[in-house]
Symmetry: C2
Subunit: 287 residues, 2 copies
């Protein structure tokens, strides 16, 4: 049983339509509000060596990234912290606050709980004009498949390439980029936090078309030798880049650095260099 199998089970209870995007979408006056929640905790998310400040930063960043991937502007964050050592709260809150401040959001509430294992749950709220909301669905055959930044760097640190510490410990959500891309006419978007391969399968699950990637176009983490870099780029988790589809006539979208890595194809399949990639990346597993 992994995350995606469990999600199917949950869909049966709460309804499929509430599980298809990085955020839920609500009416809010003339605009739309997007809302998302993320749970992180010591064992599986906070790597040994991270400071409390970095733990707070990461906790905010992952949620702001979900908001960015809808084309929305993050506005508000709530943060629930479960912790055993109360001394950690200052660093965690300051890190979350600094990340929010950098990306235009404010912490407006939260909860504190005594907990054996440091656990942080952030809920983010963002706003977007109706015409600029972007979902995971909406890709059209012939659209370019594009990616901001260089994938695989966070995973590279986990595999010993320590120059990538900041990529893993202090992820930078693509907040400005998400909004610029939304205004630039992209058709679908999500963040690649579970890795590109899994993210493409996630896109496949909510689109009527498929995605064909040419791995030779993928930007690769520098300093990782041989086939390893491509492996990290395709299957590594912990990045917060934006993966999106764009009609060719709208390319390039000015003001955002991104790479064209493939095309949307009529067949409902994911292909990397002509063959389906493995369905693996960042996933929790239950026995």
């Amino acid at each position: 049983m992994d995350d995606r199998e469990l999600l199917k089970l949950v869909m049966g209870i709460v309804g499929r339509e509430n599980c298809l995007d990085d955020c839920a979408v609500l009416p809010c006056g003339e605009q739309q509000m997007v809302v998302t929640t993320d749970m992180l905790h010591q064992t599986t998310d906070f790597v040994t060596g991270m400071t409390d400040w970095q733990i707070g930063w990461m906790s905010a960043a992952v949620t702001l990234s979900d908001i960015a991937s809808m084309g929305a502007a993050p506005k508000y964050l709530l943060i629930a912290v479960g912790l055993d050592k109360w001394e950690q709260i200052s660093g965690v809150m300051q890190g979350a606050k600094d990340c929010c401040t950098k990306f235009g959001a404010a912490i407006i509430g939260g909860d504190i709980d005594r907990h054996g294992e440091l656990t942080v749950v952030t809920t983010g709220l963002g706003l977007v004009d109706k015409e600029h909301l972007v979902r995971r669905s909406g890709a059209q055959p012939g659209d370019l498949v594009c990616l901001t930044g260089t994938p695989g760097q966070a995973q590279a640190w986990l595999e010993g390439f320590l120059q990538y510490e900041k990529a893993l410990f202090e992820p930078q959500p693509r907040v400005e980029e998400g909004q610029t891309l939304a205004r630039g006419g992209i058709t679908a978007m999500m963040d690649d936090s579970d890795g590109i391969a899994l993210s493409l399968y996630d896109l496949l699950s909510v689109n009527d078309y498929g995605f064909a990637i040419d791995s030779s176009t993928l930007p690769l983490p520098a300093g990782v030798p041989g086939e390893g870099a491509r492996e990290l780029a395709l299957y590594g988790g912990g990045d917060y880049e934006l993966l999106f589809t764009l009609p060719p006539e709208r390319h390039p979208v000015k003001g955002v650095q991104y790479t064209v890595i493939g095309k949307v194809i009529p067949e409902r399949v994911v292909l990397v260099d002509g063959a389906p990639p493995e369905r693996r990346g960042y996933q929790h597993r239950w026995g």
Copy 2:
């Protein structure tokens, strides 16, 4: 170090104004949106004997109660579940969904995490007309201090009065009552989930006046002998009744059953039968 001391530390980082009410308040078109998040987990919140369904129900109920205490209508819930045994997810989600359905809200999103200890974080969003929003502040001298329901029942179960299992395991947030009271002209409100004594001190901290309670007017849990019932009513946690202040000329508010238990007084002090009660109730503690 307890919850309230830690909250002061957090206030210094995120700002005091974001820590004064049961919910944060945001503009949302013509209305106001209230938002709140609550973290619950096995060791301190989910009593042995609770079913997965009851765990889900309670997790939703505590958050819906925070929304009710602002006079708002709960609309949306996000739920993050950290769990070790994936089999529990169905019961937890069904319980949360059933609670939401009963009180007019819908589950619109969430997260699932693998976690050593069952942990549930619910974030609730509600809507209220601007003129009906009620905060913890706003009490005026001469206002009646009032309470819905009978306090102490949840704590009574913990102390062996097993007829009160439903009070603890399946709390019923006062959703309709909160909105009716808000339209009825109350001046301040919160829920009494940490016990009446601590809740009165919480009200004191954000009001310019004090609160004098007559304990002989408190409804007491039936079947608890002697002084024990009064003790449970004043200091027991786990209830989700509404504690509010009401100008005498607006009393009684039709359509809500409540008891007048005291008065707002000019002196900034909490008094029970003329003396300050202990500052104890439901609190987490850190060493």
